[in-house]
């Protein structure tokens, strides 16, 4: 029995590896192992399940079957490069690199290879400037948007006035964690709140110093740019020092179920940002359950459905498939190339009507992409953890960032990148 099964799997593997007829190849650089596996697994499950749903329900996109090539990166940059090089030859249409390090690797490489990259709410923020980063897209929102959305939310909470308030930023001491500092400094000068910064070194298992400092200084709000084990420990320590959890807001990579469950009831009331609404009752989940999971094609063990990161992975897959469909429309062929998909992404328009049609009403904000603006609308919602029900509850509708602050920052950073790399800004 065992051997037979293995042999069947081996056979299936070789068959899948053989070049079949025209199909849409989508690599999934997942990280189901290593220190961040808890976040990578649901995302990848959602990403793959949605494409499998399209295959099962619609026969792919525009009649072309989708083939997913999964490659395990373990969130490691070198393995990510290996994955990229090994999958790009198969006709990969779009990459979702999923780690800051891998993204920075792939931006120049994919630009030369002319394959679009979608870094959804992570990676290089200034890639929102499509004239410099022709092949990189970071819609629907980026980190600087996130920082601004948080401040706008707090402004709203405080009747539009944050002057005299103190806000502490607890951040992962890495490129990722330092992303919001510039934006928050600008906003602090603008709105008159006091900003203090507390760096937490990787991996972040020991944060007593930082939280004792917060306890001493009693800031009104704590914002967090955390990742990995740092999130769980921070939530636990915040509960330990008795910090009011409703004043503690994480960004969208610090707001999944596994970030809060280890702290148990203490995490109740913790807030986080999200770029996609979490709603387990969306019709699309029923379809995935019946057409993918019950058919035995689930990417994982099926237990993650409806969770924050599963939904985000599925949302990412939806944005990718919409872009591919758009590319098929533009070019009038179904067997699109990576360059055509880029065109599809650069004129992508996501409307509420379309999302509702796909069975995921309100899952993300409405936005449109243009050649100049690859960043989408930058909208985000604030959600709150309800420990008793074990659920994230959306508190707000989509909140807009303050573009007047972010746009100059993006222009400056992308101009610096263009100068450093001799790029002549312009549309393709």
């Amino acid at each position: 029995m065992k051997m037979k099964k293995l042999a069947a799997m081996a056979l299936a593997g070789t068959m899948a590896a053989a070049p079949a007829m025209a199909e849409l190849v989508i690599p999934d650089l997942s990280y189901r192992t290593g220190p961040y596996a808890a976040g990578g697994t649901p995302f990848s499950d959602g990403y793959q399940d949605y494409f499998n749903l399209l295959n099962a329900r619609d026969g792919g996109i525009g009649g072309e079957a989708i083939r997913i090539v999964e490659c395990e990166t373990g969130y490691n940059t070198e393995k990510g490069v290996e994955c990229y090089e090994s999958t790009k030859g198969e006709g990969a249409l779009i990459y979702q690199p999923l780690s800051t390090g891998i993204t920075y690797q792939l931006i120049p490489k994919a630009t030369v290879d002319e394959i679009p990259i979608h870094t959804m709410g992570y990676g290089r923020t200034s890639a929102a400037n499509g004239e410099v980063f022709n092949w990189v897209f970071n819609y629907p929102a980026n980190y600087w948007d996130a920082a601004s959305v948080m401040v706008n939310y707090l402004l709203d909470e405080n009747g539009g006035d944050l002057s005299g308030k103190s806000i502490a930023l607890v951040y992962h001491n890495s490129a990722y964690g330092k992303e919001p500092i510039r934006t928050l400094e600008e906003l602090s000068a603008m709105h008159g709140f006091e900003l203090s910064q507390l760096a937490v070194d990787h991996p972040g298992q020991e944060q007593k110093s930082q939280w004792l400092q917060i306890r001493r200084e009693r800031p009104d709000y704590v914002l967090m740019w955390g990742w990995g084990v740092m999130n769980q420990v921070a939530v636990q320590e915040a509960a330990n020092i008795g910090f009011p959890m409703e004043n503690f807001i994480g960004n969208w990579w610090a707001g999944a179920e596994h970030d809060v469950t280890p702290a148990g009831a203490g995490a109740d009331g913790y807030k986080s940002l999200n770029m996609n609404r979490v709603d387990a009752s969306l019709p699309v989940f029923d379809e995935i359950r019946t057409l993918v999971h019950e058919a035995g094609n689930a990417a994982g063990d099926g237990s993650n459905m409806g969770s924050v990161l599963y939904t985000r992975g599925m949302y990412a897959a939806m944005l990718a498939s919409e872009a591919i469909a758009n590319a098929q429309d533009i070019h009038g062929v179904t067997d699109v190339t990576a360059a055509m998909v880029r065109d599809g992404m650069a004129s992508l328009e996501i409307t509420e009507a379309r999302m509702a049609e796909l069975g995921m009403s309100q899952i993300g904000p409405e936005f449109s992409v243009s050649c100049e603006n690859h960043g989408g609308s930058g909208l985000g919602i604030v959600q709150q953890w309800n420990a008793a029900d074990g659920q994230w509850v959306a508190l707000t509708d989509y909140i807009a960032p303050d573009d007047s602050v972010i746009d100059p920052l993006i222009a400056a950073d992308s101009a610096a990148f263009a100068a450093e790399n001799n790029i002549e800004p312009g549309c393709l």
Binding site: M1, K2, K5, L6, R32, T33, G34, P35, A37, A38, T41, N173, Q197, L198, A199, V200, D201, P203, Q205, E206, K208, S209, Q210, L212, Q213, R215, R216, G228, V229, Q232, V233, Q236, E237, A239, N240, I241, G242, H258, T261, P262, A263, G264, G266, G296, D301, S303
Partner: protein
Amino acid sequence: MSADFLYGIEVVLNGLMAGVLYALVALGFVLIYKASGIFNYAQGVMALFSALTLAGIMSGQVPFAHLINAIFGTDIHYFGWNVPVLAAIILTLVVMVIFAWCVQRFVFRHLVGQEPIILFMATIGLAYFLEGVGDLMWGSDIKTLAVGLPQGGSLWVEDATSGLGGDDFYGFFIDKLDMVATVVAIILVAGLIAFSQYTKQGRAMRAVADDHQAALSVGISLNFIWVLVWSLAGLVALVAGIMWGAKSGVQFSLSLIALKALPVLMLGGFTSIPGAIVGGLIIGVGEKLFEYLIGAPFLGGATENWFAYVLALLFLVFRPQGLFGERIIERV
């Protein structure tokens, strides 16, 4: 008393507590190094593995479920029962003893008499192996360890001390989990010392630590003692895993706590149990105080990781064998 000074004391107190947690990890290293001269890089992974096993047994997870499902196409995850904490801990210890026996039987028995760096390398192989097995057995998601340990700051301490300073002093913050960890650490160390002083096996263990060949010649079984030592290290790893896992959930990163123990070992000496404790306390207080006084205000924070090592390095320059390590006598 001024609030700044009181907060300084609070930092010291919390540093002591953190030091106890570091010492818990360091203890496992010391036990094995003393008895067999092996610098056990896998100690951190052992903490992860034991905590994973405990969490897995408690929630009635099926070991190797993912692998079984992938091979046989089944869909099993849980047995559907919950094991009480105490029984789960005992079962985990059984697993750790089996693990210790396997390590001794299949790896280190074949490496007797090799150079220290070879033994060190073998433990690295062991770390890889155990990490892979842990993931295969229990999956790589984050597990909540609900063994009923208290969490959160102690209100009693806070209330009792809040009168010491002015209005901007809120009383000392002491984490209840840290207090429990301290008590457990004291019991553990007392138990280990009692074991090694008053039992036959314990004395045999000390004899082996002193001189392998002399111990062998009076009829002590090295194999047995080494299995015993690895089992004890497994016990210490389990305790460390529970304490650290209670904070962050049981996840991969738990294996990185080994890095927190290394400066403690340097400072206290690789061969001394009291050294591990004292070293842990010094490192804990040193790094927290440095972060409070210099790191956060002047250097932009996050200095703890490297400062612990620099502190240990400074100590070593004056005492190359660590505070309590065996004096290195060099002969030509």
